[in-house]
Structure formats: structure tokens, C-alpha cells
């Protein structure tokens, strides 16, 4: 049967204010940013990419004279892909006077940091965090998240899933058992079931799991039309390798609803070909958008590699925060938040904006497909865009996401 022969990999990228005096413990000439990213653990490749982009953006801003007369310095902490460590790090960064904290390549890390920043009255520019909760039930007035979320990913891919697998397709899910995996799995399940699909298996897996073989044997028994792997970072790399080793792609289509270039690059086009995915940003956009070209060129010049979308979110975070400071004319958190809320800007793609009521960044979601080895020009040339979905079309409505952020003053 053809549907099993080609073995599609469908991949969806997504992925009281206790006012703290601005710049406490800092000199009058510098401000401190707290960079809190995973440099070890399952998401370390994404954390490394984020850190590189943070440093690069800060260096560029400093070379241009800094922000409202102050140069930026930073402290770096390793979250170890662990929410408790991320929380402790955020507290330390705030205690040493960080005027802004940014980071988190796992959603539970980001949510933990967001809570600490909210309590301290420090702006948190969330890094790679794709859980619906980050700007949903765990949203905070001091948190801004540019990266898209599970709902956006699922909605953007809904039509593609139905087209590929039919309205009555059977789906099996393996998903990372924490806020991101849970919310993304739920979002994808909702869209496929709404279209008439059926969920035949749903298995949570712990973060950092080494072998998925026993889970994959259950999947084999369930005989789904599509296996949806809601894993990320090194976990996804390991899992898809094991899927490949077991030749499951010949029996069912493979869907990976969140992909980042540093997960695809080690696997190469031979494994990634045909995979359907979606991303909020891809380095190939540099061929179309001047802002992306500037970013990719600067990143490549500094690090001799392509940036992934974890780097893109870091780049946006630094430039958006500092631009807000400039508009506010102050590092005061209240003024900066007001300057960010509802702000429209053009940085990496066309015009995008920060939604004022949940602080979600609204920008397009790109549905993509893995290139074949023959189509791939180099180790980073792995995907092609097959459809573009406007930010407002795929984002949750107020009814779907009834958050109420804390008062500002």
C-alpha cells in the first residue's frame, strides 16, 4: 500500500509587584541581562544556539553604543533542561540585578522563570517555549513569548494532516510528559479528531528517555496510519533514529509535531526527506526577507553555521526588548511592558506584533517538507516551504485562551 511505502514523516515545528530597582548592584554605565538556557541535558543544542544569538545581538547593540546610553553585560546560567534549576537560576540572576531575564528551551523551564520574574517585577522574554500554557494558563504580565505555540502549530498543520492521511486516519501519539508535550499532543489530537480522525494510542514518555523500543513495539501492534512523535531536542533525535532502525516508516507515516534545525541536521536528508513540518522561522527565509538575511549572515560570520529558530527567538527577544526600552526611554519594567504590548514591528519576516492581552508574538507559521538528498544543497538545506499561515489565522482567540494578565500598576 502506497500510504505505507513512502513513510511520511510529518513534522510540525513549533516548538504585588516586589519592584526590583533597575540595575541594582550595577554600575551606572551598564545593565545586566540574565541569560538562562539549557547548556546540558536534552535541549542543550537548542540552548547553545540561543546563547550564541543572545551574545551576538548584545555585541551588535553594544557596538552601536548600547541602549539609552548604557552598555549591556550578561550573566549566563545553565538550566540543565530542568525547571527547578531554571527557577533557581532566575532567582539568582534577579538577585544580582538582572534588568531582564531571557531563556528557556523547555516550556516548564520558561514557565518557572516567568513566575519568578513576575514576582520580582522583572521582564521575562521567553525563549524557545512552545507550550500553550506559556501564554495561556501560566501567562504573566511580565512575560513575552515570540515563539509560536502548540495550538498555532496544530491549526496550521490541520489541513495538511487531513490531506495526507485522510479524514478517518488512525493516529498513535508518543509525547514528552510535561507541559509542552501534553499541550501540543492535546492540540494535535483535537484537530485530527475534529476532522474525523481516531486516536488509537497515547503514550507519555519521560524527558531524557534513552530507549523508546518498548513504546514503539506497542505502536507497531496498534497499527496506526500515522505515528505522532511529540518529542524535542536530543530526545527526538534518539526516538526518530529508533523509529528508523525499526523501519516503522514503511508501516505508517511518521509525524513529528515540533522540529528545529539542530534536530534535523544530525539526522540528514536521507532520514528527514518527506517529513512534513511547520516552523515559526527557518534560515531559508533569508532568501526572501532582508531581516532574516541580516540575522543569518551575522550568525554565520560569527559561528560558521546556520541559526535555528531557537537562535531566532533569542535574536528577536534582545532586539525587541532593547527597542522597547528605547521607545520607553527607560529600563523601568512598567514602561517597557507598556512599550511592548500591542507593538507592531518588522524584524525577521513581514510585520508582526505582540498581542497585548496574552503577550503572544503573532507572526506566520510555515508548513514545510523535508527535502530529498538530491534536493538538499548542503547539510543545513533540509526543508522547503509548502504553505504559509498568517499569525492571526492560527493563534488562539480570546475565547479559546481566556487569560487575564495581572494588573501592571
Amino acid at each position: 500500500m502506497k500510504r505505507f511505502v513512502s513513510g511520511f514523516f510529518l513534522v510540525v515545528l513549533s516548538l504585588s509587584f516586589s519592584f526590583y530597582p533597575s540595575g541594582q548592584a550595577l554600575s551606572s554605565e551598564t545593565v545586566l541581562f540574565g541569560l538562562n538556557v539549557p547548556l546540558s541535558g536534552s535541549y542543550s543544542l537548542q540552548g547553545e544556539d540561543q546563547l550564541k544569538a543572545y551574545k551576538l545581538a548584545i555585541d551588535i547593540i553594544n557596538q552601536q553604543g548600547g541602549v539609552i546610553g548604557k552598555k549591556i553585560v550578561y550573566s549566563v546560567r545553565d538550566t540543565e533542561t530542568n525547571a527547578a534549576v531554571a527557577r533557581k537560576n532566575a532567582k539568582e540572576a534577579i538577585a544580582e540585578g538582572a534588568i531582564m531575564v531571557t531563556g528557556g528551551s523547555a516550556s516548564d523551564e520558561a514557565i518557572a522563570q516567568a513566575e519568578e520574574c513576575q514576582a520580582a517585577g522583572v521582564v521575562f522574554m521567553a525563549g524557545l517555549t512552545h507550550s500553550n500554557d506559556t501564554t495561556g494558563k501560566d501567562a504573566h504580565r511580565h512575560t513575552f513569548r515570540w515563539y509560536n505555540n502548540g495550538h498555532q502549530t496544530a491549526k496550521a498543520m490541520a489541513a495538511g494532516l487531513v490531506n495526507k492521511f485522510g479524514k478517518e486516519a488512525k493516529y498513535a501519539f508518543l509525547y514528552a510528559d510535561y507541559t509542552w508535550g501534553i499541550t501540543l499532543q492535546k492540540s494535535v489530537q483535537e484537530v485530527v479528531e475534529k476532522a474525523g480522525g481516531k486516536t488509537v494510542l497515547n503514550i507519555p514518555t519521560e524527558l531524557g528517555k534513552k530507549s523508546y523500543v518498548s513504546d514503539l513495539l506497542k505502536v507497531k501492534q496498534a497499527k496506526p496510519d500515522a505515528l505522532v512523535l511529540v518529542h524535542f531536542g536530543k530526545d527526538m533525535i534518539n526516538c526518530i533514529k529508533q523509529v528508523n532502525q525499526m523501519n516503522l516508516g514503511k508501516e505508517m507515516a511518521i509525524v513529528v509535531p515540533l522540529m528545529e534545525i539542530h534536530m534535523a541536521q544530525p539526522l540528514g536528508p536521507a532520514i528527514m526527506q518527506g517529513i512534513l513540518t511547520s516552523k515559526c522561522w527557518y534560515h531559508g527565509l533569508s532568501e526572501k526577507y532582508e531581516g532574516s538575511k541580516k540575522f543569518v549572515d551575522a550568525f554565520e560570520a560569527a559561528y560558521h553555521k546556520k541559526p535555528g529558530n531557537s537562535a531566532a527567538t533569542a535574536w528577536v527577544n534582545i532586539f525587541q526588548y532593547t527597542d522597547a526600552v528605547k521607545r520607553a526611554g527607560s529600563f523601568d519594567h512598567v514602561k517597557v511592558i507598556k512599550a511592548l504590548e500591542g507593538h507592531k514591528f518588522t524584524l525577521l519576516v513581514d510585520e508582526e506584533y505582540w498581542r497585548d492581552w496574552d503577550h503572544q508574538g503573532i507572526h506566520p507559521t510555515f508548513v514545510m517538507e523535508g527535502k530529498t538528498p538530491a534536493e538538499s544543497k548542503d547539510e543545513w538545506d533540509l526543508f522547503k516551504i509548502i504553505s504559509v499561515h498568517k499569525g492571526d489565522d492560527v493563534a488562539r482567540t480570546k475565547q479559546e485562551n481566556p487569560v487575564k494578565l495581572e494588573p501592571l500598576e
Binding site: 546563547l51 553585560v73 533514529k241
Partner: protein, 329 residues
Amino acid sequence: MIRIIKQVIFLVFLITQGSLAWPATQGTRPIQEIRIGYVPILSQLPLVVSYEDLGISNRSVKIIMTRFGSFNGLEAAMRVQAIDFASLPVITVLKMKINGIDVKIVGQCSAGGSRLVTRNKGGLKDIRGLLIGVPDLESNENLLLSLVFSPMDMRLGIEYKTIGISLGTVIEDYTGNRIDSMFMPEPFGTIIENRKIGFMAEGQKDVLTGKFLTVLTINSSFLNKNKNIVSACLESIVKACGFIEKDIKDLKAKQVSILQKKYFDYDEDIIASSLENRKGEISFTKFLPEKKEINRFSEEAVKMKILTHSVNLDDLLSLEIMKQAMEKK
């Protein structure tokens, strides 16, 4: 039943294919390891700044950083090959070579950074009669004092005395009056000055300060087997030196002073002040140690009976990789 048998056969197949033992990471390249030792003084900053960079940018190399409380500890670790790479006082390296320890000098990453600080204001001649704390009796600092004071008719052991003190107890030794003065690496001089309990001896600029002190040293067998790792390390160190110099110039060393906290744990303001004011004429711009400078120390060390004889530097220096690293800067 047939289904179970099929699954067992399939599972056995997977095990034999290695699926169950799949590595946790992509792990297609073998992880190589380098053990680097350092002591918490400012002239060693490039090692930790480099580690911050290389530690995340080259995941095929596993770097193990170990902090030592003294150069003696660092030397001992190097001698027994508990570490592969360190920045050591040049005399220590010469002594190791004479003792048959097969090491190579592959470059340098700093110059200067040690200062003579006294309890009372005064010049070099006022050192007469004082007990001076130095990192070790066989340290470059002790040799430098001898080189400078001998022409002034101030003899070691007669007109002045020196004593080796641990980096971990410098401040306590000074405040406890166990030493009268000290010629130690930064940031100890700045810490003393900051507490207003000592002064930089006048007349030492460019005489005692700013001098070549430590060299990047590597175990020869490690170098022979791992040139790619050494190359990556030296490239990163050259880059780190540029980063430190830029930080001193542009940000008054604020970024580096934050970064050192994790490795040295000194007060940020002390470090920023020391670097910004180039205390001890510290610099991070010289990467190739000169033979004449090494020979100067070597000759004095032979005179002081620290070394039994001089060393053939052609057999000790291996600077090609550093030269290549500098070209990639």
C-alpha cells in the same frame, strides 16, 4: 502465541542491531577529552573565558576544568598527568623538563599581572628588611625580585627575605602580619588596596610589572595524539584574549568580571578595577613567548640554584599550533 514469538524474534533482532543501546545523543563522532587546570588569578582569565566559549561551541571535545589552590598543586597535577594542559610559571616548566617530565610550551596568553604591595608607602629601596610573600620560592616573582634587587645591592636572604604563600591564604597572611609585603598575582594587590591596608611600591612599573610570567604548557604525549583538540583550545584562547581586551576597552571589564565569578569567585568590582586599571601592567595580547625572555629567567634560576642547568628551548617550545591559531584570529 505466534504473535509473541514474532515479537521476541523482533526484539532479539533489535538488540543485535544495537537499537536498545542507541546513544543518548546523536553521538556520531567520538567524544574527545582534555583536562585543563587553572588557578584563580587574573592572568589565567583566558582559560576560563575560552572554556565558556569552547565548552559550548565544540561539543566533540569534552573539556574538564579543574581549579587548583596553588601553582604547586597545578604543577603536581601536571607531573602525574592528572591534567593535560595549564598555564604555568616558566621556571616551573623548565624545572619539570629537567626532571624528565615530557611537556611542551605551546604559547602564552597573558603578561604581567603581579605587583609588589607594601604596608607603608615607599619605593623599592624601602623593601630592605622586609619579608615578602611570593607564590613560591621558585616562582617567576621571586626570580624577578632577585633580578631587580641584585643590581641595587639588595641580596635575597640578607637585605630582604621571601616566603612562598598559598594563593588561598594571601590575604589572611598579609592581614595577620605573617608577611610585611607581597609580590603576588592580581587580584590580591587590588584587594589589599581596596581595603586600604597596603600600597603599590613606587618605581616598579615596567621593572617588576608587565613581565612575562606564565606559559601555556601541555603534556607532550597528549599533544602528539590530540593536535586537533590543542588547536581548538589555542584558537579559543586567542579569541578569549581578544574578548577580554575588548571588554576592558569597551565595558571597563564588566563582562569579564561577571564571567569570572563562576570560576574565581572574586568580587566583581575588584576584578573590574584591577583589569580596567591594568594593575601589574596585565595584558592579553602576547601569544608567543620569546626565547630571550625564557633564557633570562633560566639563567637567573641557575644562579639561584633553582635549576641545575639550562634547558634546550628548541626541545621545549612547540609554537606552530599557536601561530596557526593567531592567523585564524
